[in-house]
């Protein structure tokens, strides 16, 4: 039987019950929803109580903000100027005094504008690349990856790098090999055309020659050798070079390891397993102590350059395995769909497979980047002074010696590292959400 019903009075909108919204609702739902979460909440609060007040006290409440040497951070009983009985926290004047050394190392004072320009240009061209809505991504990326590295090299070293006959000979050999490869491929597999292949080889040759000339040109700037570099500068140079260079190498290695060509697969597997099997410290030692033994007499290889190569290859091996994980998650159907449309191998990889695979492993990739950023501190072992090394070196300075100096220095270094790593982490989460929005079901 049908019941007749007519609404005569409309029901007004009401606020949800207090248990659902507001602070109380949030607390009930997130902190106190069960006995276990009550216990965990209390425990968490206790841990916060143990740590946070102490840090705040040290870094802010009891901190010394002004002073001209270490005595300002010492109690009178200890030979300093601080009232006895007053708690002494962080010694910030020390960081202030050493700040520029932490950034530039022993880079000559009057040449530091070059570092400033390099960093400024880097930041200014990186930011628009990171913000998705800003156009000209391609041009921006070409500048950052194709021009900027050489600009920085010239600025920081001063250019005028002796491009010896060896380098030109290397270029000549490379060209001969390239031409040979193109002709051989064109004759045997017809997969490429001789004319277009030769054009590519010629373009690469011209590009390398331009780089040689640019690096070798005398700009009239003072030569600043890499042993003078230090601090955040070295940290950033090592980390950024490692990150940027290891990413494409890692992708190539991952593709190689999954390739159907036995030679490519074997080479990739050997490379990856070799570098993964060695600790980074060993790599650094080998590159700076052992490698010169193998090089012919008189051939010199900049120490920083050797470290850069070692770090890059080391992290490329890890990157390769991360990327391979992503590749494995892509179904065969995607490859077949792309092939059936007539896409070439590289188009298929670049347009279909890698975008999906890399998106899947963004957390892993950023993890590797963050790990690499922190691993740069190991360069201290071969005598390069990164940020942490520079901070530690300053502890020996008698002028700023005080009980709080080393604590303050480490706190400062930790904060700088944390800011960079946290930034990378947040950006990756932002990117993940952005890429997910489009095709989340």
């Amino acid at each position: 039987m049908v019941q007749n019903y007519v609404r005569t009075k409309m029901s007004p909108d009401m606020a949800p019950p207090a248990t659902e919204t507001g602070i109380i609702g949030w607390v009930m739902k997130n902190l106190l929803s069960s006995w276990l979460s009550v216990v965990l909440t209390v425990f968490g609060a206790y841990v916060i109580y143990l740590i946070v007040p102490g840090v705040v006290e040290f870094a802010i409440v009891n901190a010394i903000w002004v002073g001209k040497d270490g005595l300002d951070c010492r109690s009178i009983a200890d030979g300093g100027r601080v009232q006895d009985g007053q708690a002494i926290g962080a010694c910030w004047p020390y960081v202030q005094a050493y700040f520029s050394q932490f950034i530039y190392g022993r880079y000559p004072l009057e040449e530091r504008w070059r570092v400033d320009i390099a960093m400024f240009v880097g930041v200014v061209s990186l930011i628009p690349l990171l913000i998705p809505t800003i156009p000209y991504k391609r041009e921006n990326a070409i500048f950052l990856l194709g021009v900027y590295p050489f600009l920085v090299t010239i600025l920081l070293t001063g250019g005028n790098i002796g491009i010896g006959n060896g380098a030109w000979g290397f270029l000549a050999i490379l060209m001969v090999l390239g031409v040979g490869f193109v002709v051989f491929q064109a004759k045997t597999t017809q997969s490429i055309q001789i004319s277009s292949g030769l054009k590519i080889v010629a373009a690469i040759g011209v590009a390398i020659a331009i780089v040689y000339l640019a690096l070798g040109f005398d700009y009239g700037m003072l030569d600043v050798e890499t042993p003078l570099w230090g601090g955040l500068l070295v940290t950033l140079v090592v980390a950024i070079t490692g990150i940027v260079a290891s990413f494409p190498i890692g992708i190539i290695l991952a593709l190689g390891r999954r390739s159907e060509m036995p030679v490519a697969r074997l080479v990739s597997v050997i490379f990856i397993e070799f570098w993964r099997g060695v600790p980074l410290i060993t790599v650094l030692f080998m590159s700076s102590v052992m490698l010169p033994l193998f090089l012919p007499e008189g051939v010199q290889f900049d120490k920083l350059l050797r470290v850069l190569i070692g770090v890059t290859l080391f992290s490329a091996a890890y990157m390769a395995e991360t990327v391979r994980g992503g590749l494995q998650a892509i179904s065969r159907g995607q490859y077949e769909g792309a092939m059936a449309l007539g896409l070439s191998f590289w188009q298929m990889m670049g347009l279909i497979i890698l975008p999906q695979a890399l998106k899947l492993v963004i957390p892993g990739i950023v993890n590797a980047f963050i790990g690499l950023f922190k691993d740069t501190t190991l360069v201290l072992i071969v005598g390069l002074f990164d940020l942490l090394g520079q901070v530690q070196a300053s502890f020996t300075d008698p002028v700023w010696s005080s009980p709080a100096t080393s604590h303050t220095g480490y706190l400062f270094a930790a904060m700088v590292f944390w800011v960079f790593c946290f930034g990378m982490s947040r950006y990756s989460i932002f990117m993940e959400n952005l890429l997910h929005r489009g095709h989340k079901r």
Binding site: E336, L341, L343, Q356, H439, K440, R441
Partner: protein, 287 residues
């Protein structure tokens, strides 16, 4: 087994009959083709020619002695039990699988290891898969314009116009800016068909295009395929939709154990199968 190609050529009469449907437009569609139209349109040009082709997966002999000739404008339906090698056969035609013996000619290009020729053939041969294989990270429109832009080097604007044209043809232009994950199975499969058509292929391969779909979506996909057939597209369809086979096929092939057991025009194939295996298969599938 050398019987197969002969049969296929003897069936050319039926080929001609149905191919004329196209020239008469949809008016002639419902009517059975009249005998007088026999000589009218079917081209004697060969689209695909497979001779004595064999394929192995390791030691496993999947395809044995396959010979098959498909003329331009012909629609061929391939059926057979699971594992009989139907997918493998049509995947050999655009080199998603490699054959080890025999010869495959597609649009007069022989399939060898020559990558250039493989690319050339793939440009002319569209393929629709059971699981659609749309690219989930690209919008529907981008799925459709990708290959024209990168393979045919078409300007983006033009590619988008063509894509919209084909999306209208499969009746989902309003979905162009969505992503594949937001569409129903039937819609996704129609997008997959549109995506292939954007490359303006001469031949279309279908590998069980409806078998991953719910019944109510099967029809919308079949309708698109039927329209395509009436426009004279050369089609090879692996499908168990016998209604579709009856309506548009010139010829039905039955495969079992990697071999072509029987090939006939739909009437003869369904009403008067010759081989016992075919009879058994039909009795299972039709009832």
């Amino acid at each position: 087994m050398a019987e197969a190609p002969k049969k296929s050529s003897s069936k050319k009469t039926s080929t001609k009959k149905s191919a004329t449907k196209k020239s008469n437009g949809s008016a002639a569609r419902a009517a059975e083709p009249a005998e007088t139209q026999v000589k009218m349109t079917v081209s004697d040009e060969v689209a695909i020619e497979i001779t004595d082709m064999h394929k192995w997966y390791g030691d496993f002999h999947v395809l044995k002695d396959i010979s098959l000739k498909v003329n331009k404008g012909e629609r061929i339906v391939i059926c057979g039990p699971s594992g009989s090698g139907k997918s493998t056969l049509i995947r050999c035609i655009n080199r998603l699988e490699e054959h080890q013996k025999g010869k495959i000619l597609v649009e007069n290009i022989e399939l060898t290891n020559d990558l250039k020729k493989i690319d050339e053939i793939r440009r002319e041969v569209g393929m629709v898969f059971q699981h659609f294989n749309l690219f989930p990270h690209l919008s529907i429109l981008e799925n459709c314009t990708l290959a024209p832009i990168w393979v045919r080097k078409m300007p983006k604007k033009e590619a988008e116009e063509i894509a919209m044209h084909f999306l209208e043809r499969v009746r989902i232009p309003e979905q162009a800016l969505k992503y594949p994950g937001q569409l129903s199975g039937g819609q996704q499969q129609r997008v997959a068909i549109a995506r292939s058509l954007c490359m303006n292929p001469k031949i279309m391969l279908f590998d069980e295009p409806t078998s991953a779909l719910d019944p109510e979506m099967i029809k919308e996909v079949l309708d698109v395929m039927i329209t395509l057939a009436h426009e004279g597209m050369t089609m090879l369809c692996v499908t168990h939709e016998m209604g579709f086979a009856r309506e548009v096929a010139n010829s039905v092939i039955f495969m079992d154990e990697g071999q072509i057991i029987e090939q006939n025009e739909p009437e003869g194939f369904f009403n008067n199968p010759q081989s016992d295996r075919t009879k058994l298969f039909l009795s299972q599938i039709l009832h």
